[in-house]
Every structure is written in structure tokens, then in C-alpha cells.
């Protein structure tokens, strides 16, 4: 079933990147795919374009976020059926768009949504489909070298595919380092496509955000982490209160876990877990190297400590020289007060 009509494509190869959204927010993974697509396109003298599905309400905010990173042309499909994910609406939308754009390659995240609808798109269009790929290196002799991850990451499958025959690749997070935000807004061309989007036979009933209290700290977006400086087990209530206010999960240093103040599952660093949240707030943690190794890749690191010499300040993006017992409760109050103010305004 592999006899492919190799159509002459005089235009430079087109690599499309599907910018995925989860509940109205762009997935960071999409930017990693973009970085990968740029590398590949550069090696085959191709071009990169980006696809975004959205609704009228979300259009402006999503586009703004996208434009911070994207200098390539954007194809936008706006439809009320994109208010929530459905296999059928996404499949029908993408199938129609690909028929118009005729790309050589489409990159999607190997997320729950991506893996849900991309196979159906590939089937409908007769595209090749490569699930769970790593960085697609380069094309040699008009063929794309593809590495697929199988057997729970213990095997890589090497294969190649003619660039001229369209293919969809899904990739897991971590395929590439996401490009930094553009310094000046690049203002790329945005094309809107009016398409008929099917409604699905699957209906969203409820969104269930993760409970930060039970979430694995490796998955958490925000962590409030305490160490020996917290003083005792009871004092961790201060950190828990802040974590609740922030919607963060609680973590701890090895010292705090050794002392029995926090359960082992929440230990960051050596003999514990390596975490990469967007926010890591370290309170009363001195920052032994075994701890730093476990959290230094976090997006923003905030440190509250009474000892200015504590090594953890060396990795801080924002440091507070002060007593966590005085600072954190005030911060918690401040956040709660803010929330109270915000609630009536938005409920209208």
C-alpha cells in the first residue's frame, strides 16, 4: 500500500504547525513544534506556516499570544464549534484546511487531543501518519528521516518518508527548545478561512482542572516548596495556605522530608523528583546542590529566605530577604483579597 503518487511540487516544501489550545490557552508544546519545524524547513529550503482553530471570543487573546512567538503566516479558522474540543469538528476543520493548503508536513502535539483526531485526518486524506516522533532531523535525498519512540521510550524506530508525499507527525513535549518570544512583534500575515465545521457526537459536560493538592509535583505548573527553615511540621500550614491561594502544589526539600514534615512524594531534588514548573517558590530552603539540581529548570524561581548567603539566591529570579512566617501569610492574604475583588466583577 505504499505506491505513492509523487506529485511534482514546484513550490518550496510547506511545513504546517498546528497550534493546539487546551481550554482556550495555547499549549507550550506548540512552540516547541514551531522550533522544530523551523529547523527542518531551513534544511529543505521550505517554509513554515501555523494553523489555529478558535472561536470569535477567544480569537483576539489567542492571536496575541501566538504573535509573540510566530513570525510565519498564520491560518485561522474561527467557528463556534471550536468552543470545546471534539473529534469531529477538529477532524473536519483540519481536513478541509489541508485540502486547501496542500502541505508536505503537518506537526501536531502528541497530546490527548492531537492523538485523538490526527489519525482520522490522516485516514481521510490518505496522508502518512507518524505517531510519537522525535525531532525530525533533516531530509536526505528528498526523504525525511523520522525517529519514532516506541516501547515506552526504550526503542527508537528509524524510518524515512518522501517529502513529496504528505505526512502528519505527532510529537511529545521536549522535542525542541521553544523559541524565545520575538522582541518586536513580527506582524505576520493572518489568513482567515471560512469553513463548514461539523458538530460532533461527543459533548463536553465539565472541565476538571487538576487538584493541586493531589497532583504529582512533576506535573504541577506552580510549586510552593519548603525546607528546614520552615521550622516544624505544623508551620507547613503557612505554605499550604499560600499554595491553595495560588493554585499551586506543595513541595519540599530533602531536609524537610527527612525530618518527616512532608511526605516523600513531594521531595524535590536528589533522591526525590526533578521538577520544571512555571513557578517555583522556595521558602526556607538554603539550596544545597542536590536541591538546585532538581528545580533549577523551573520557569521563574522565587526565593524567600532569611540568610542572604543561602546558595538558593544564586538561581532566584526574584528574592525576598525576610522571614517566611511574616511574609507568606501576608502574601496569601493579598492574593485572597485580590480574588474577592475580582470575583464580583467577572461574575456579571
Amino acid at each position: 500500500m505504499n505506491s505513492l503518487p509523487v506529485s511534482p511540487s514546484p513550490a518550496p516544501p510547506l511545513v504546517l504547525v498546528f497550534a493546539e489550545t487546551l481550554w482556550g490557552k495555547l499549549e507550550r508544546l506548540s512552540f516547541e513544534l514551531l522550533a522544530d519545524a523551523r529547523k527542518l524547513a531551513a534544511s529543505v529550503k521550505g517554509r513554515v506556516e501555523v494553523v489555529l482553530f478558535t472561536t470569535q471570543e477567544q480569537r483576539a487573546s489567542l492571536l496575541e499570544e501566538l504573535l509573540a512567538h510566530v513570525r510565519e503566516p498564520i491560518h485561522l479558522v474561527e467557528h463556534e464549534n471550536f468552543a470545546e474540543y471534539s473529534t469531529e469538528s477538529y477532524t473536519s476543520g483540519l481536513v478541509q484546511l489541508l485540502q486547501v493548503l496542500q502541505p508536505n508536513l503537518l506537526f501536531l502535539g502528541a497530546t490527548t487531543y492531537g492523538r485523538d483526531f490526527a489519525p482520522r485526518v490522516a485516514a481521510r486524506l490518505g496522508y502518512a501518519y507518524f505517531p510519537h516522533c522525535l525531532l525530525s532531523k533533516t531530509a536526505t535525498g528528498g526523504k525525511l528521516d523520522i525517529t519514532r519512540v516506541t516501547h515506552g521510550g526504550r526503542v527508537h524506530i528509524q524510518t524515512n518518508w518522501p517529502l513529496a508525499a504528505p505526512a502528519i507527525l505527532t510529537m511529545k513535549a521536549g522535542v525542541a527548545d521553544a523559541p524565545a518570544a520575538e522582541k518586536t512583534p513580527p506582524n505576520p500575515q493572518v489568513t482567515s478561512h471560512a469553513l463548514k465545521i461539523a458538530a460532533g457526537k461527543v459533548r463536553l459536560k465539565k472541565r476538571i482542572p487538576p487538584d493541586p493538592r493531589t497532583l504529582d509535583i512533576r506535573q504541577a505548573e506552580k510549586l510552593v516548596s519548603g525546607g528546614r527553615g520552615v521550622g516544624n511540621k505544623e508551620n507547613f500550614a503557612v505554605l499550604r495556605a499560600l499554595a491553595d491561594a495560588l493554585g499551586a502544589s506543595l513541595a519540599a526539600s530533602r531536609a524537610a522530608v527527612d525530618l518527616g514534615w512532608v511526605e516523600y512524594e513531594r521531595q524535590v531534588g536528589q533522591t526525590g523528583k526533578t521538577v520544571t514548573p512555571r513557578l517555583y517558590l522556595a521558602a526556607g530552603i538554603s539550596g544545597a546542590s542536590h536541591h538546585l539540581m532538581g528545580m533549577r529548570d523551573a520557569g521563574k524561581i522565587v526565593v524567600v529566605n532569611t540568610d542572604r548567603q543561602a546558595p538558593i539566591f544564586s538561581v532566584a529570579h526574584f528574592g525576598v530577604l525576610g522571614d517566611l512566617h511574616a511574609v507568606l501569610p501576608r502574601l496569601t492574604e493579598r492574593i485572597q483579597a485580590d480574588k474577592k475583588k475580582a470575583t464580583p466583577a467577572t461574575s456579571k
Binding site: 500500500m1 505504499n2 473529534t87 502528541a110 497530546t111 490527548t112 492523538r115 485523538d116 483526531f117 489519525p119 485516514a123 481521510r124 490518505g126 502518512a128 501518519y129 505517531p131 510519537h132 522525535l134 519512540v149 516506541t150 516501547h151 521510550g153 526504550r154 526503542v155 527508537h156 524506530i157 528509524q158 524510518t159 524515512n160 518518508w161 505526512a167 502528519i168 522535542v175 525542541a176 457526537k201 461527543v202 459533548r203 459536560k205 472541565r207 476538571i208 487538576p210 487538584d211 497532583l215 506535573q219 504541577a220 505548573e221 538546585l292 544564586s314 538561581v315 532566584a316 526574584f318 528574592g319 525576598v320 530577604l321 525576610g322 522571614d323 511574609v327 501576608r330 502574601l331 493579598r334
Partner: protein
């Protein structure tokens, strides 16, 4: 799970026997053979498929008269998965001859079979331990023109016309969705607790004669994604994640200093200026503003 009606269900469960990739594997460099570091290969029913089976059995228990049939596209050796299904209590098992030609082929064979007989619900594992393509479920649904929910972690409610399930999303998020029946769901491994299957039951199952079907595929590959015929397994080689590297043009002493500082040397000087001190009221306000500025609150 709540069952909201008493009409019996007809449920199909797709199973696969796989090499247990949770154990250390090696790839023979010359032949590309994937092997465990053990004298005998350790195989297992694919864990996600086991969730699918387990769920189907629970649904049958709560809805008297329902039937569960298990299917597997495999060669003779792969029928162990079906034995397990029978031992767990499936009403019938059927092996569809064929293996090793990739997920689209497997999906097409299953679809040919299900075209001949309608099931209220088809349950699959969301991905296999070995090929990990997560492809068979969605493709099967596509060919049969069924709605689907993939990545299911919990079944909440089931009626004759619809099913209410939770699917797992990224980073611990979930959503509750309702799907019309007939339809197809794929379950994540360990989403349904497994029940113990006794050796005795397994031995009894192994005595049963499992019918084999030979389906012929339509010659046209329309409605299927293309799939490469040539693929070489290799030992995994992880992508190099960028990490801080001092510029070779800097002096050796500066390079060593930056490495000792964990690459944080420039940041270190910057952070000195962004350390605030003062009374708790003031610093907590500054901290709040930092968090606000970066949209953490």
C-alpha cells in the same frame, strides 16, 4: 459507574499480547531485533487493553444479559491475550489472523470484522506498550464512522444511547464528556482496577478452542493513512537538551567560574539587584507584584 437501563449491551474488546517493555530492552545492533535482557521473552496482555477488558466486564455485571466478546489480531502465539480475556469472564473470543504489518492494517482487519456485526460499544486500550502508536482505536472508529473518546480514565455513567466518561488531558487536567452510542472508547492503562484471574480459570480458558477468522482486506487503501513498510528499530538516543555552555571565546578562568556557578553567573549579578528586603508588608507587596506581573495570580 452507574448503569441507567436494563437492556443488555453488546461489547467488543480488542486485546493484544505484547512484549513487556517495562522491563529493560535491548536492540540488537545488527538485526534490529528487540529483546529483553532475559533468557525467555516476558510477554503480557497490554496494560491499557486490560483496563478496557476490565471495564467491559464491569459493565456486563451491572447489566444482566450483556455480552462481552474479545478480539485480537495476531498469530497463534498472540492468542494468550484471548485466553486471558476468557479467563476474566468474556463470553466469546475470536482471533483474526495477521500480525506485524502495522496499526493501520490491524485497524482495517478489525473494521472488516465489525462491519459484519454491530456492537454497542467497542473498547480498546489507548496505546500499546510496544508500538505505542495510539492509532488502532481512532482508525477503527474512522473506518466504522463511529464517535470516539480516547484516553478515558473513568467511566461515570452508561445508558443504551450514551456513555459519560472522563478523559485524561495534559498535566493532570481531565474533562467529562458524553458520547452517543454506538461508539468507541480507548482506556488508559491502570484507569480501571484489575481483578485477579486465577490460574485455574486461565488453565480452563486455555482448553477452549478459539475460532480463527481470516479477513480479506479491500485492495484499495483508501480511508487509511499511509504507513512505512521499512522501519529499523534502534537503541534510543535521546535528543540533546540545550544546557548552559560558556562561550569558548571567554577566558578559561571565566568559563570555569560560570560552570561552578551552575551557569548562573550573569543571573547571579542580576539577582542581587532583584532581592528585596524590608518589613514584611513591603516585601510581600513586592512579591505579589512580581507574581502578578508574570501572571501567576
Amino acid at each position: 459507574m452507574k448503569v441507567l437501563h436494563t437492556t443488555p449491551f453488546k461489547i467488543a474488546v480488542c486485546l493484544k499480547e505484547v512484549l513487556d517493555a517495562r522491563l529493560p530492552l535491548k536492540v540488537e545492533a545488527k538485526t534490529g531485533a528487540i529483546q529483553q535482557d532475559a533468557p525467555e521473552p516476558v510477554v503480557t496482555l497490554n496494560p491499557a487493553d486490560r483496563s478496557a477488558l476490565e471495564f467491559a466486564m464491569q459493565l456486563r455485571e451491572q447489566s444482566p444479559g450483556s455480552r462481552v466478546e474479545v478480539f485480537s489480531v495476531s498469530d497463534v502465539a498472540g492468542q494468550a491475550a484471548l485466553w486471558y480475556g476468557l479467563a476474566r469472564g468474556a463470553d466469546d473470543a475470536e482471533r483474526i489472523e495477521g500480525s506485524g504489518k502495522g496499526a493501520p492494517y490491524t485497524a482495517a482487519l478489525l473494521a472488516t470484522r465489525f462491519h459484519k456485526e454491530t456492537f454497542d460499544l467497542i473498547c480498546c486500550g489507548d496505546e500499546t506498550l510496544d508500538n505505542s502508536s495510539a492509532l488502532v482505536g481512532p482508525l477503527l472508529a474512522e473506518i466504522l464512522d463511529l464517535p470516539q473518546v480516547t484516553g478515558v480514565v473513568r467511566i461515570v455513567e452508561c445508558s443504551k444511547s450514551s456513555i459519560l466518561v472522563e478523559r485524561g488531558l495534559e498535566r493532570g487536567s481531565r474533562e467529562l464528556v458524553e458520547m452517543d452510542l454506538p461508539g468507541l472508547i480507548t482506556l488508559k492503562a491502570e484507569s480501571v482496577p484489575w481483578r485477579y484471574v486465577s490460574y485455574q480459570k486461565l488453565e480452563e480458558a486455555q482448553l477452549r478452542n478459539i475460532p480463527v477468522r481470516r479477513e480479506t482486506l479491500p485492495t484499495s487503501s483508501n480511508g487509511l493513512p499511509k504507513w512505512p513498510e521499512q522501519a529499523t528499530p534502534t537503541a534510543p538516543r535521546a535528543r540533546v537538551k540545550k544546557s548552559f555552555t560558556p562561550d569558548s571565546k571567554m577566558s578559561p578562568a571565566d568559563r570555569v567560574r560560570m560552570i561552578m556557578a551552575g551557569g548562573a553567573a550573569p543571573q547571579e549579578s542580576k539577582s542581587k539587584s532583584s532581592v528585596v528586603e524590608g518589613d514584611a508588608e513591603y516585601v510581600s507587596e513586592q512579591l505579589y507584584r512580581f507574581l502578578k506581573h508574570h501572571e501567576f495570580v
